[in-house]
Symmetry: C2
Subunit: 398 residues, 2 copies
Amino acid sequence: MGKRIPNAFIMTRGSGSGNRFPEAGHDCNNRMLLKVPETEAFEEELSVTASTLSEVAKLAGVSPATASRVLNGSARTPAPEIAERVRQAADTLGYIANAQAQALAKSSTGLIGLIVHDIADPYFSAIAQGVQAAARQERRMVLLATTNGTPAEEKEAVAAFAARRAESIVIAGSRSTRSEDARANTDLAAELDRYCRNGGRVGVVGQAILGVAETDSYRTITVPNEQLARDLARDLARTHKGPFVIVAGPEGLTTSDERVMGFQRGLSDAGQPAADIVHVAFNRNGGFDAGIELAWRIKASDRSAPDQRLCIFGTNDVMAIGVAAALRDQGLRVPHDASLAGFDDIEWLRDFRPALSTVSLPLEEIGRLATMATLSNDDGGAAAVVGSVTLRRSTGSP
Amino acid sequence: MGKRIPNAFIMTRGSGSGNRFPEAGHDCNNRMLLKVPETEAFEEELSVTASTLSEVAKLAGVSPATASRVLNGSARTPAPEIAERVRQAADTLGYIANAQAQALAKSSTGLIGLIVHDIADPYFSAIAQGVQAAARQERRMVLLATTNGTPAEEKEAVAAFAARRAESIVIAGSRSTRSEDARANTDLAAELDRYCRNGGRVGVVGQAILGVAETDSYRTITVPNEQLARDLARDLARTHKGPFVIVAGPEGLTTSDERVMGFQRGLSDAGQPAADIVHVAFNRNGGFDAGIELAWRIKASDRSAPDQRLCIFGTNDVMAIGVAAALRDQGLRVPHDASLAGFDDIEWLRDFRPALSTVSLPLEEIGRLATMATLSNDDGGAAAVVGSVTLRRSTGSP
DNA sequence: TGTCTCATGGAAAGCGCTTACCAGTTGGGA
DNA sequence: TCCCAACTGGTAAGCGCTTTCCATGAGACA
C-alpha cells in the first residue's frame, strides 16, 4: 500500500452520497478529509486510505484504547453498549486493523516462515500443504521462500524471516555436507542460532542442520530415511536375486546419502553384495540421465538370467520416474527388463505405470508436525515420523 | 518473536567474553542490559532481544537518523567514515532491521499475497513457482494462502493480506458462477474493491472476478481456455471419428465451463455433433469417478468400429489422469479402447504413459506475469498468455 | 570579508497500534 | 455514613523505524 492517495475517496456510506464533496480540505496532519453532510452529531471524517483505529474511535466517540479493546481482543471488555457503537463505527468505515502496527506494538506477528528448495516439486508442495494447514489452524500466515537447495539462499531466507519477525521458521529439504557448502552451512547455522536466541523457533524437516544445538526452540522432525531404505532393500532382496544399483543424488546431499547407506545396509543384512552407485542430480532429469546409462548395462547383460537382472533404486520418486522414462526411451520395460523402486510415494505419481514400489512418507503430516513443533511448548519427544515400504508392480515378477 | 526474554544473552562479541555478567541491571526502559567490560570508550550495552537501530546508533556514536540513512538505503548518504562506523556497529550487534517497523514508518511492506486453491496441486504449485520467482526478483516476499477454491475463504485471505498491508495480491484458480457462491463472490469483489481503493494491486490468473472493475490496480491475466479448447477439439476431430465425451468439473466452475464451451465449439466447427458432458469433481478423483462410468459405456460399444470409439476430454490434466486410471482399472486401454486428452500439460505428468494429449500452458510464466502486472505501472495491454495444443500418444491411433 | 548556498548530522514528529497506569464511579461491608 | 475495592474508560508512553525540518558549518563568489 502506497502513500495516501489524494484523489480517491472512500464512500462506505454508499447509497446516494457518492458525489464528491467540494469543500474537502486538509487537516493538521495534511490528510485529505471529507466532511460527510448527512451526519448531524459530529463531523464524521473519512480519510482516503485505510481507516485507522483512532478514526473508528472518533466516529464512535470513544478513546482509541477503548476501540482497541473492543475490536482487537483484549482481557478487558468495555460495556456492551459502547462495544456495539465501536463495532458499528468500524463497520461503517470498513476498518481493517493494521497488522504491522499491531505486530510492532505487541511484538508478535503471527507469521510462519517456510523454506523449501522448490515449491513446484511435489515433495515440497505436499509438505507446504501441511504447513499451511497447521498455520491456518493456529491462525497464522505463512511466508514462503524457495532456495534451490543452497544453504546460502537458505541463510538469506532465514535473515529475511527474522527481519519480518516471523514467530517460527520451518525448513524443509535435504542438508548438504559437501565441502563447498561448508561455509554457507556455518553461516546458516549462525543465522538460525541468532534467530533462536532472539526468541524465534525453528522446525527442520529431515535432518538437523549441522552446528545448531537442539534446544526447545530448535526442533527436528527426523525422517528415518536410513531405516526405511534398509527395510526396502531387505524386502526387495527377498525376491530379487540379481545385482542392485542405486541412483543417488550428488554425494553430500544428506537425504540421498542416508537412503544410500540404509539401502546398502539392508542388502548386507540380506546377504547380498553392495550395490553400485550412480551419482546424478537429485531430480527427474538426474534420474533420466542415470537411466540412459543403465540401459546400456542392461542391454549388455543376459536379461533372461534372474541373477543378472538389475534392480534399480532411485533415492526419490521423481528420480525413479526419470529412470523409468529413460529405460522406456531405450526400449526397455519395467519390471520386465529391470526392477525399479523409488522413495517418498509422491501422490501425483501413484497413477504412473508400472506402479512404483517405494517408501511411503506422510509428507503433509510431516509439514504439519514441523509447524506444530515450533508453535507448541511441550517438548513432547519429537513426534516420530513413520513411513512404510510399499511394494508395487515395478518390482514385481518380470 | 516474543517479549523480551530476561534470561538469554546475546554475546555477539563472542570469543572468550561468554561469561554472564553479574551486575547486569535494568535501565529506565526496564530492559535487561549488559555492560561489556572490554569496551573502553563508552559503555556498550547489549540488549537481550534483537538489537535496534538506536542501539546501533549509540554504539556508533551517531543519531538514529544517521544510522538509518546508512543501513537502510536513503537518498542521503552520510560521510564514508561515519557510514563505516555505523556498519561496524551494526555488524557487531548483529543488527537486523525490523521490517514491521520499517513498514509502518514507510507504509510499504514488500509483501505479495498469493491465493491458490491448493498448493499441493501441481497446477498451482507451478504458478506459485512463477510468483515466487518474480517476487524474489523484485525483492518482495510472498505470503501464501490456500482456500480450497471457495470464494468465502478467498475473501478471508484478501482481508488478511489487506491487514498485513500486502502491496499486491495474486489470485489463482477458477472462479465460480454457482448460485450458492453468488453471495461470497459479491463479498470477495467488495473486499478486493476496498483493497484496491486503499492502494493495493491485484492480479488475477484466469478470468476476472465478477463485480470488480478492471482498473490500473486490478489486472487479469486471461488464459484463453475457450480458444485453446476449441483448437484442441478441432485437432482431435481431424482424426477421431467416434463420439466425444467431456469430463468436466462442476457446473459453474468458470475454467471448466470455458473449456467445455470451447471444446463444443471446436467440434461444431469440425462438423461433429456436440459431446456428452459428465460433471464431476475438478480433480483426479473426479476424473476417476467419471472414468468408471465411461468404462461401462465403452464396454457396451463396439470398440472395433472407429465411429463408435470414444474420445474423452478431461478438462484438466489430473482429471484426465484419473480417467485413465479408472479405465485401466476396468481393463481398458488408452488409446486402444478410447482416446483421452487433458488440459494444462502439467510437468509432472509428462512421463505418464500413454503420453497425454493436452493443451500446454506456461504455468510458471503465468504466475510471473500476474505478479509483475501488479508491480509495474505500465498498463501494457495485459500480456497475453499463449498456449498450444500438444498431441501425444493418448489420442493416437488405437 | 560578508553573504548566500549547499551539504550534513541531529532532533523530533509521526506510522497505527497496545497497554500500563490513572482518575472517576459505583457498590458493599463495617 | 464512610472507606475501600472493583470496575471502567481515558491518557499517554511506547513498539522500532523513517523523514521532515532545523541548525550548523563549509565552501563559493563577489
